[in-house]
Symmetry: C2
Subunit: 339 residues, 2 copies
């Protein structure tokens, strides 16, 4: 199976993208790395690495879409950009299973929707990152976390279906799906939530457990948290910001006294473990759920470790049958009841 | 000046409310504590404390509004509840400067709006907690953080004016006001933000600095962050949840190894300092901005320290001229220009 990699996406592209992808090759042998971008530059960089030549391919794409460009315009005007060329390949090559990019989020989303296409019946695909929780080994999927700033209840319903299928594909049985709200009680919510709540409750094949407050997203009690992309973005980044503040404060305080420094030494392993658990670099990227193949967007600031993990994640996700699952669950919930 | 205290609001009322309020009396001598609630119970509890009898008064209110009751219905049906009696006193007694409650948030908000009344020109008051930031001694006001789940642009504009006045009253010069969004760039946002952004930009007397992502709320770069109450609630609780998770994980990890335990001992002071900075108990409650006097809501789970700090905060806020400031800034921005 081919994993397409946007060699020119991200702050540290192409060097770190190529380095991380080559590292990934040695950890899993069921995929090939297909770099998309300026062929000569990529081939020159590849000379620095040892790898199985049968597992690496380069597709030339002379243009690059930057984060400053308006995504829709850029995707239309730059058919030879790494993102557009990759989506063309992903669509046309039956052996291509996934696309990984650390580039412009907007352009990846627009490209995926326009060039690759949505799953039949899905109105709006959703960015679906996986967050670690308090319970070891248990994660929570938060969708939409940014692709759709304004949503209707039909979108939230579809996010619940897609999130549920995603969790199932990862081996979670009867995943618990909650609606992000401003209180845990059924009556809480804004107008969108009030409209969506009864629809979510009626869904077949979705274990909807009610509202969840943002403070409980990370408890490990829920497998999927559903919300509009604006709220999801705020929840995700609020959590990131708080963790980053707390770790910075800890560091400041530890280095400000002798006993702090000593304590810090003894806790080195603890901090390492925590960082490993909380650092996005170890969680790879966010799946863009609702399009026809696996599209994974990772942080623009990703370095080789993040890229490696995202490529490995992509190789894993590409084996999932998420699209089929989603289609089946959509059908189960069709008003006329084809099921 | 009288500070009215809801003796029957909160999970630990009336014992902890009374204990905390009596403690507050000894730290500041410019206010009287006026307990509102079941008189006999309060008077019985007061017997356990030594205090200046001239500074404590009790107003009888035989009813209690619980958190389970629908706020609007409860406020209408229970005129003899501690919350309703307190608002009546706050409105009618010119010497009453503030009201503190750890009771039903909804009932406090409804009571404040209906019984006490809004500042002229303000459509929707807003819950306005103060959060600590990365910069020592610098805080950020987040409003609305939950009173108004659905907002229009006029509300966000008024939140910016009110938040600005609040920060100024606390001594911040030319406070930086930002709009919470799903990206820092001017173009980011949902429909509400797109409508509000240009209006915020035009405001006179408000130093609007553009969009802020949730991850940057706590950097200390901003004095006021404006948003609808749904998003604000998610930001606030997302931050709370992340901090709580991280502290729990730290604790778990520290206690799971010998070196962890030793390190933990050396870092005891550091953790204490951090807890002091991040614990809501030390930050008192959230001001309900936009009503005619100072109304402060603190966590339902508040114990004596949180109550003490909230009462002290109330005595402080009651000396502010926030209402006058807000009226002046509203006038400055009136379309016809009365100014």
């Amino acid at each position: 199976m081919d994993i397409l990699i946007d060699a020119f996406g991200g702050d540290h592209a192409p060097e770190e993208v190529i380095a991380g992808s080559i590292e990934a090759l040695s950890e899993r042998d069921d995929f090939n790395a297909v770099f998309v971008g300026k062929q000569d530059v990529i081939e020159n960089l590849l000379k620095n690495y040892k790898y199985d030549q049968n597992r690496v391919r380069v597709i030339d794409a002379p243009d690059v879409i930057t984060c400053e460009e308006e995504p829709t315009v850029a995707v239309r005007r730059k058919p030879n950009s790494s993102i557009c060329v990759a989506f063309k390949e992903l669509k046309e090559n039956p052996n291509a299973g996934a696309f990984v990019s650390a580039g412009s989020t907007g352009a990846v989303l627009v490209g995926a929707t326009l060039k690759l296409g949505r799953i039949k019946g899905i109105n709006r695909p959703a960015t679906s990152p996986i967050l670690p929780t308090l319970i070891d080994g248990k994660n929570v999927i938060l969708l939409d976390s940014g692709a759709n700033a304004d949503c209707k209840s039909i979108n939230l319903v579809q996010f619940a279906i897609m999130g549920s299928c995603y969790a199932e594909a990862m081996g979670v049985e009867n995943p618990k799906v909650a609606l992000l709200s401003n209180g845990a009680e059924d009556e809480k919510g804004n107008m969108l939530n009030h409209e969506s709540f009864p629809l979510l409750k009626q869904l077949k094949g979705v274990n909807f457990v009610g509202n969840v407050e943002a403070r409980d997203i990370l408890t490990g009690e829920y497998d999927v948290v559903v919300c509009d992309g604006f709220s999801g973005n705020i929840a995700l980044k609020g959590i990131e910001g708080a963790i980053s503040m707390l770790l910075k404060l800890l560091k400041q305080n530890i280095y400000s006294s002798v006993s702090g420094k000593i304590g810090g030494l003894f806790l080195k392993d603890t901090f390492k473990k925590l960082k490993l658990k909380l650092d996005y670099n170890n969680h790879g990227g966010a799946l863009f759920l609702g399009v026809n193949k696996a599209v994974i967007k990772t942080h623009g600031s990703s370095k080789r470790t993040a890229i490696k993990n995202t490529v490995l994640q992509a190789a894993h996700y590409a084996t999932f049958d998420i699209s089929d699952r989603i289609s089946a669950k959509l059908q189960l919930n069709e008003p006329e009841g084809n099921a």
